[in-house]
């Protein structure tokens, strides 16, 4: 029996980005799902041939608009170690603040889209309403709502004055209130649980074998978080990775929801400990050698491989984004679920196709 074949994407209302799934289903149960890519591929890494290593900061910020700041952070940190530069302490703490603001906005964005994928429109609206406060913070502190161009090699470009930090703290209190109000629905609503519990289950072993990263891996009981490497100021802050055990969509939802609180906490800690001083150090010379840099993006571990030869242009810039690592899990999670759950499971990896394909 041939069953039903459905093209899911590239243009599809539940997919924020173009991705194609060739779905074979039978009585609305997925038999197989073959993904196809390339609808957002630009060939960004190749731009390193014609943009010098400083200009590339602006390019890597646009690998993905949702985690732009952390892309630039990873890239800059890689070059800093390659060139032997130590950014000043204030810059390291500021980097944490913006990173965590980014995580907040990304997770809220994801929670909203996730709610929308299971047909919970009003939850989507409420979450995005809260998210707008983060966007305002981004704009007020970095000059842009989405793409935060704050990183430079050797530090950051913008500083926060005490008025701004105070305002951030009061805004965060509001955000926290809004999140708490929605927690009941997100974590305890019958219909939400019905749509997420037991869907797209990965065991701890499967998740490790498939190379999952970030919340995907943490929802399966693995406490893996690149922030534990202690880059920027994370080594001086107090936090523990959020871990869930069930490995289903609901667990992923719980992880990301809990990370909202964790991010708020990290921002508060950073503002509390924010040292005085310069925000960047002057950097001279050109990079030479090769290095692997890693950082924790909202979606998980991001890896940059940089190879330089002492010239203006990098020899090779390779970006392995977290979604790229999480995609193989889809081929395991999709078969056997209902068609209606495809968007839910698909979104549960928090796909960022723009990252994946670059």
């Amino acid at each position: 029996m041939a069953g039903t074949v459905i093209p899911f994407g590239p243009q599809h209302p539940v997919l924020p980005e173009p991705l194609h799934l060739n779905l074979k289903i039978e009585d609305e149960i997925v038999i197989s799902a073959t993904p196809a890519f390339g609808y957002v591929h630009r060939g960004l890494e190749k731009l390193a041939d014609i943009r010098d290593f400083r200009q590339m900061i602006q390019v890597v910020e646009r690998v993905c608009g949702i985690c732009s700041m952390i892309h630039a952070l990873t890239y800059c940190q890689g070059l800093e170690s390659l060139m032997g530069v130590e950014p000043p302490p204030r810059a390291r703490f500021l980097r944490v603040i913006w990173s965590e603001l980014h995580r907040l906005h990304s997770h809220l964005l994801w929670l909203g889209l996730f709610a929308d994928a299971m047909g919970f429109e009003s939850l989507f609206m409420q979450l995005w309403k809260v998210r707008e406060r983060i966007m305002d913070m981004n704009e007020a502190t970095a000059g842009n709502r989405v793409i935060l161009s704050v990183n430079v090699i050797g530090g950051v470009r913008r500083d926060l004055d005490p008025g701004q930090t105070g305002w951030i703290l009061s805004e965060l209190a509001e955000v926290e209130k809004g999140i708490k109000a929605m927690g009941r629905t997100i974590l305890h609503d019958y219909t939400v649980q019905k749509r997420t519990r037991g869907k797209g289950v990965l065991s701890r072993e499967q998740a490790l074998e498939l190379g999952c990263v970030g919340p995907m891996l943490r929802s399966c009981g693995v406490a893996q978080d690149m922030r534990l490497l202690g880059y920027a100021a994370y080594g001086e802050l107090d936090f523990a990775p959020v871990v869930e055990r069930d490995g289903d969509c609901y667990a992923r939802c719980r992880v990301r929801f809990a990370e909202l609180g964790q991010s708020i906490d990290l921002i508060r800690q950073s503002i509390g400990k924010l040292p005085a001083g310069d925000i960047s150090v002057p950097v001279k010379g050109r990079p030479e050698g090769e290095i692997v840099a890693r950082a924790e993006q909202p979606r998980g571990e991001c890896l940059y491989y940089i190879k330089a030869n002492g010239g203006k242009f990098l020899d090779r810039l390779r970006i392995r984004t977290p979604t790229f690592a999480n995609i193989p899990a889809l081929t395991v999670m999709l078969p056997g679920i209902e068609l209606a759950d495809v968007p839910v499971v698909l979104l549960s990896i928090d796909p960022c196709v723009s990252c994946t394909e670059r």
Binding site: F8, M118, G119, E121, S122, Q126, T191, K194, R195, V342
Partner: protein, 282 residues
């Protein structure tokens, strides 16, 4: 004869206006529940007028046939209702609307519209059975399927049909294509089947179906008013209350799957209704 025709026309005009307005209220209320302001109340009319003036485009001629038949079925059913006809006949005529909606949707090569029509069939199954049980209850209480007998009842039907009323609420949610049962098509497109059965209807055809949907919702609300047919106030307030309840439910629930709808939703509703009928018979 003239009088009947005039009445029929008046009822249709009123139903279209009221149905559109209710749809406007729905959108506005939904927006308020989502912390938004929402569109003006006449937005549904603007939408339909715009749709009617768009380009005609079909992938299969049946897509042009179906909306007309679907709208007409809803209109005839509503007129028969206004004329206090036989509830069974009204339900049979009303079924035609769903039949043609599905036929048109299945005629297109788009897998979305076709998959959605399978779901629409399950939805139809759920709604129709419950409506026919209401007709049965009507018969058991009044000894007739004619609506005209209802006003003579000493007390509202709701007192004797609480379980059936709950089942009706389920059917209304399904019919209004509201969460948690917006499975085969809904008013916004964010679902796995795009816009479900409506995906392939373009411009004027979608416009006709939109009006047909208003009329169907009006018919359902009219059937809802039967539960309180002894008192004009109740006949208006009860459907309105139910309408608002559906909208609120839409905003506090995620979409469930059609298997859940068929298994738990319809299964429970059917058993409750059957139980109510036995209880009624005594």
């Amino acid at each position: 004869m003239m009088k009947t025709t005039a009445l029929a026309l008046a009822v249709l005009c009123a139903a279209v206006l009221l149905g559109g307005l209710l749809s406007g209220i729905d959108r506005r209320l939904t927006a308020r529940l989502q912390s938004r302001q929402g569109p003006p109340l006449i937005q549904p009319f603007l939408d339909v007028i715009k749709l009617m003036a768009k380009e005609r485009m079909v992938t299969n001629p049946w897509q042009a046939f179906s909306p007309v038949a679907s709208l007409a079925a809803a209109a005839v059913a509503l007129v028969l209702f206004a004329l206090q006809g036989d509830l069974l006949v009204i339900l049979f005529v009303h079924m035609v609307g769903g039949v043609f909606l599905v036929l048109g949707a299945m005629a297109s090569p788009s897998p979305y519209s076709q998959t959605a029509s399978q779901r629409e069939l399950w939805q139809m199954l759920s709604c129709e059975t419950l409506l026919f049980l209401i007709a049965g209850a009507l018969y058991l209480t009044t000894g007739s399927f004619r609506l005209s007998e209802l006003s003579a009842l000493p007390e509202p039907l709701l007192y004797r049909l609480p379980l059936l009323f709950a089942a009706f609420f389920f059917a209304l949610t399904v019919k209004m294509r509201k969460s948690p049962f917006d499975l085969a098509g809904c008013h916004h497109a964010h679902q796995e089947l795009v816009r479900g059965v409506f995906t392939e209807y373009v411009g004027p055809y979608l416009g006709l179906l939109e009006i047909a949907h208003w009329l169907e919702v009006m018919l359902y609300l009219a059937i809802c008013s039967l539960f309180w047919a002894t008192d004009a106030k109740g006949m208006i307030l009860l459907p309105l209350a139910v309408f608002f309840a559906v909208i609120v439910l839409d905003n506090v629930a995620a979409r469930l799957t059609w298997r859940w709808m068929l298994g738990w939703g319809w299964g429970a509703s059917f058993i409750l209704s059957a139980f109510n009928l036995f209880w009624l018979k005594g």
